[in-house]
């Protein structure tokens, strides 16, 4: 008698034991709800998806409870140990038809809101802003089409946190050096492609996920109803950095957006001026180290030793201690047939000058060479 109850107890509750277990392990009261279910998000699309998800979920729960209740009842009552004698029925056309037709009808009911939600999700028409999103190994490039504003957005969590040398910050693996900025209550169209392998741009809070496919363009859209900073992820295996290229979007008031965009355009012009400026060795080394850690260290390591043969060492390398022009060529144009990307389009002249200076003088390379932004500019022009 007790064995039967115990058995039932354990069978029913084993998976449910997790919930109290979970609640007790979570330090933050209130956040446990966030890590149990999908977010309703901040767009009409994300809300539609959430509502659909919950409807289907509850239908499944109800069906499951009914079906399992019948099964558990049977397991308790129809037992040989209780002396129950087996019946002998083994078919019924009526019943078969019933439990074919009824589920089919339930499915049709589910299909209606699903169809509506999908049609809405696909409607990219009449957007006010077009943003091109390009997936790189392992970062995103954003381009505000028609505005001449573009930048790279890469993970800003330091390696030291990833490799457990420093405590992890609150937005661990979900912070970038430069987020995408869009205005609230504005339909934004995203044109998504990739530079190398397939990536996928996923903004959970917007209900947006679209694959980034090299050679092809995909489009999707979002109209965000609430300002804030939202974090998403790359959602298609793209190599070793798949978990290390988050998406961060800052949604701001429309006037703030206009101001920001104006600033970015001005900064592009200012960058062109900065290109003329002469920096000191110390300024270049400091900036260069920052750029290096952000854009080079993932492959070449913070200590410059790389991981040969795929990722050569820069410390003591012929490239970093040899002709500056050749060094520039490698960094600006990349190396075809290898994993070395062309950073000429990804980094500004100032950043390029700084990182080259850094590479040529760090880790004992000590060439004493100083590369100025104008050198980079001339190199690019003069080719």
């Amino acid at each position: 008698m007790f064995a039967k109850i115990e058995r039932l107890f354990v069978r029913l509750l084993a998976p449910l034991l997790l919930l109290p277990l979970a609640a007790s392990t979570l330090a933050d009261g209130g956040t446990w709800r966030e890590v149990i279910n999908m977010t309703p998000g901040v767009t009409e699309v994300s809300r539609q998806i959430y509502d659909l998800h919950m409807i289907i979920f509850w239908i499944c729960v109800v069906i499951g409870v009914v079906v399992f209740a019948i099964m558990f009842y049977s397991m308790i009552v129809h037992r040989k140990s209780k002396g129950y004698k087996a019946a002998n029925f083994h078919e019924s056309t009526v019943v078969e038809i019933a439990w074919t037709v009824i589920p089919a009808l339930i499915l049709i009911v589910m299909a209606v809101p699903a169809t509506k939600a999908l049609i809405n999700l696909y409607d990219t028409s009449d957007a006010e802003i077009d943003i091109k999103v390009t997936g790189y190994q392992w970062k995103w490039q954003y381009e505000y089409l028609g505005e001449d504003v573009q930048f790279m957005s890469e993970l800003s969590t330091p390696d030291a946190e990833i490799y457990n040398l420093e405590t992890k910050g609150a937005n661990y693996l979900a912070d970038v050096n430069e987020p995408l900025v869009i205005p609230v209550d504005t339909k934004v169209r995203f044109l998504i492609t990739a530079k190398d392998v397939i990536h996928s741009w996923w903004m959970t809070d917007f209900g947006v996920k679209k694959d980034a496919i090299p050679g092809f363009i995909n489009e999707t859209w979002a109209k965000v109803e609430k300002t804030g900073t939202y974090r998403g992820y790359c959602a298609e295996l793209c190599g070793q950095g798949h978990a290390f290229m988050p998406v961060v979007v800052k949604v701001v008031e429309k006037d703030e957006y206009a101001a920001w965009l104006g600033e970015k355009k001005a900064a592009a012009a200012a960058m062109r001026e900065l290109t003329e400026k002469e920096f000191t060795m110390d300024e270049l080394m400091a900036q260069g180290e920052e750029v290096y850690l952000r854009s080079c260290a993932a492959c070449h390591q913070a200590n410059g030793e790389g991981m040969p043969p795929a990722f050569p060492a820069i410390k003591g390398s012929a490239v970093a201690t040899g002709a500056v022009d050749h060094h520039l060529d490698v960094v600006v144009n990349g190396v075809a047939g290898s994993a070395m990307q062309a950073f000429g389009a990804q980094l500004s002249e100032v950043d390029l000058a700084a990182v080259l200076t850094y590479q040529r003088n760090a880790w004992g390379n000590n060439t004493g060479d100083v590369v100025q932004p104008i050198d980079v500019f001339n190199f690019k022009q003069g080719q």
């Binding site: 997790l18 392990t25 979570l26 890590v35 279910n37 999908m38 977010t39 539609q48 998806i49 998800h53 979920f57 499944c60 499951g64 079906v67 019948i70 099964m71 049977s74 397991m75 129809h78 037992r79 040989k80 140990s81 087996a86 019946a87 083994h90 078919e91 019943v95 078969e96 074919t100 589910m110 299909a111 999908l118 696909y122 990833i162 457990n164 661990y172 190398d196 392998v197 397939i198 996928s200 996923w202 947006v208 996920k209 694959d211 496919i213 090299p214 050679g215 092809f216 995909n218 974090r231 992820y233 959602a235 295996l237 793209c238 190599g239 070793q240 950095g241 798949h242 978990a243 290390f244």
Partner: protein, 517 residues
């Protein structure tokens, strides 16, 4: 005329006996299950906490890839082929499989293929690291050099499956005992017959996909390379045209096993035999026309996406029919709960949960949020582990006495069941939460809000791993020192020709066909 088995290692290398070959497949699949399980332990150990503690992300990608490949192609598929080899001739009253020598070849190329695949871990560039679904161009232009060994291995595994399927179809269609009409065959034979047709249809498509990959990588073609007019999305279509029927290939034989075990321990015939056959055929047919539900975020036009959503939702109908029929079999039976029955009941519950999450995934707009997250990982582990693996485990406990003439220890069997059941659920139930909360799959590292469930999941994984070692112990202990049994009909409620031969089953059975009424 009949003679006993040969002696020594030669017996195993050259055997054409379906029982021996079944045994070989089963042991091989279990070894692969432990290997794939070891990779899973590495994955869960690394994911125990945020940050990279044990391995680097590049190696993590190798672990996830190899875990998937080994489990799907090395563990689960050969396990059910092993069950097919042992049981189909016995269940239809045939003396052996139709093509015994090809049967031997079908098995022996597998250890060869997996030795090659496993050895890539030690080669320069590392093992395949592009996921078991190996999308181009990550698996072509950006693949490590070992991709060619991977392609070679896949070709060999495919050849093994195709040959095995031809054997099964020929055996079932041509060698049934007189009186055993198609609609008198046990469900396990029916599900394998249908699975074998699926295999012949789609394994060559997989071979085509990897051949096109091989050509793109080594011979300058552009099937999947946009630069030459090709398309990475073509790869996904070809792969999933194989891939979706593949998951039904994995589960249909498992359905057949459950359809044998539940009637036995309910002491009641299977409810709705013909419906079960038609439902299996319906599932097999539908499996060919739903593949792009794996590609809902690829940029398909609206009409395409709607079609694949509707078609996929439909599969719930015949699958539901099967679940209802199993429960109707139990209902008003006189049940006992030996270990095979525990696993079978757990299958019904947990596979149904996996089926529900599958239904949720089929809803295309919702899939925008589920795709490539741990919600998908949870779904397929519920159907493949709590589904296929539990069914395979049930089959072993169920038929082991017939195979070796010894009974397993019932207490140990039940213990192994509970450790597996609890470990499995602790591992995979939280992964639903992780996926819904936003954790993508194939992530070597994750943001802090995912830490708690990951820790729980990893703990569960180690419990589940322990359950497998316990299973190994149970099987070996039974074979070596289990209580001898000699009743042809081991289980009171068992029906079928396999329960009419001696226990353990003689090396040659049904040299003269039995009478089937």
């Amino acid at each position: 005329m009949a003679h006993g088995p040969a002696k020594g290692i030669g017996r195993w290398l050259f055997t054409t006996n379906h029982k021996d070959i079944g045994t070989l497949y089963l042991w091989f699949s279990f070894a692969m299950f432990l290997l794939g399980g070891f990779f899973a332990m590495v994955i869960r150990a690394e994911l125990f906490q945020p940050g990279m503690q044990i391995i680097r992300p590049e190696f993590f990608n190798q672990m996830t890839t190899m875990h998937g490949l080994v489990m799907v192609f090395g563990a689960i598929m050969p396990a059910f082929v092993g069950l097919a080899n042992w049981m189909i001739p016995l269940q239809i009253g045939a003396p052996d499989m139709a093509l015994p020598r090809m049967n031997n070849l079908s098995f022996w190329i597998l250890p060869f293929a997996f030795a090659i695949l496993a050895s890539t871990l030690f080669m320069e560039g590392g093992a395949p690291n592009f996921g078991w679904t190996f999308y181009a161009p990550l698996s072509t232009t950006y693949a490590p050099d070992t991709v060619n060994y991977f392609i070679f291995g896949v070709h060999i595994m495919g050849a093994s499956s195709i040959m095995g399927s031809i054997n099964i179809i020929a055996t079932v269609l041509n060698m049934r005992a007189p009186g055993m009409t198609m609609m008198k065959m046990p469900l396990f034979v029916w599900t394998w017959l249908i699975t074998a047709f699926l295999l012949i249809a789609v394994m060559p498509v997989l071979a085509g996909a990897v051949t096109m990959m091989l050509m793109d990588i080594n011979f300058g073609t552009s099937f999947f390379d946009a630069a030459g007019g090709g398309d990475p999305v073509l790869f996904q279509h070809v792969f999933w045209f194989f891939g979706h029927p593949e998951v039904y290939i994995i589960i249909l034989p498992a359905f057949g096993v459950i359809s044998a075990i539940i009637p036995t321990f309910s002491r009641k015939p299977l409810f709705g035999y013909s419906s079960m056959v038609y439902a299996t055929a319906a599932i097999a047919f539908l499996s060919f026309i739903v593949w792009a539900h794996h590609m809902f975020t690829v940029g398909m036009p609206l009409t395409g996406e709607l079609y694949f959503m509707y078609a996929t939702m439909l599969i719930a109908v015949p699958t539901g029919v099967k679940v209802f029929n199993w429960i109707a079999t139990m209902f008003q039976g006189a049940m006992t709960f030996e270990t095979p029955m525990l696993f079978a009941i757990a299958f019904v519950i947990l596979f149904t949960i996996g089926g529900f999450t599958g239904l949720m995934l089929s809803i295309a707009p919702s899939d925008i949020q589920y795709h490539d997250t741990y919600f998908v990982v949870a779904h397929f582990h519920y159907v493949m582990v709590a589904g296929a693996v539990f069914s395979g485990t049930a089959a072993v406990y169920y038929w082991l006495p017939k195979w070796c003439g010894r009974m397993y220890n019932e207490t140990m069997g039940k213990l192994q069941f509970w450790v597996a059941f609890i470990g499995f659920n602790i591992t995979f139930f939280p992964q639903h939460f992780l996926g819904l909360a936003g954790m993508p799959r194939r992530y070597a590292d994750y943001s802090l809000q995912f830490a708690d469930w990951n820790m729980v999941s990893s703990v569960g994984a180690f419990i589940y791993g322990a359950a497998q070692l316990l299973f190994l112990y149970n099987v070996i202990a039974t074979i070596v020192a289990g209580k001898p049994v000699s009743e042809p009909k081991t289980w009171e409620g068992a029906e079928g020709l396999e329960w009419t031969v001696a226990t353990p089953a003689p090396y040659h059975t049904f040299s003269t066909p039995p009478e089937v009424k």
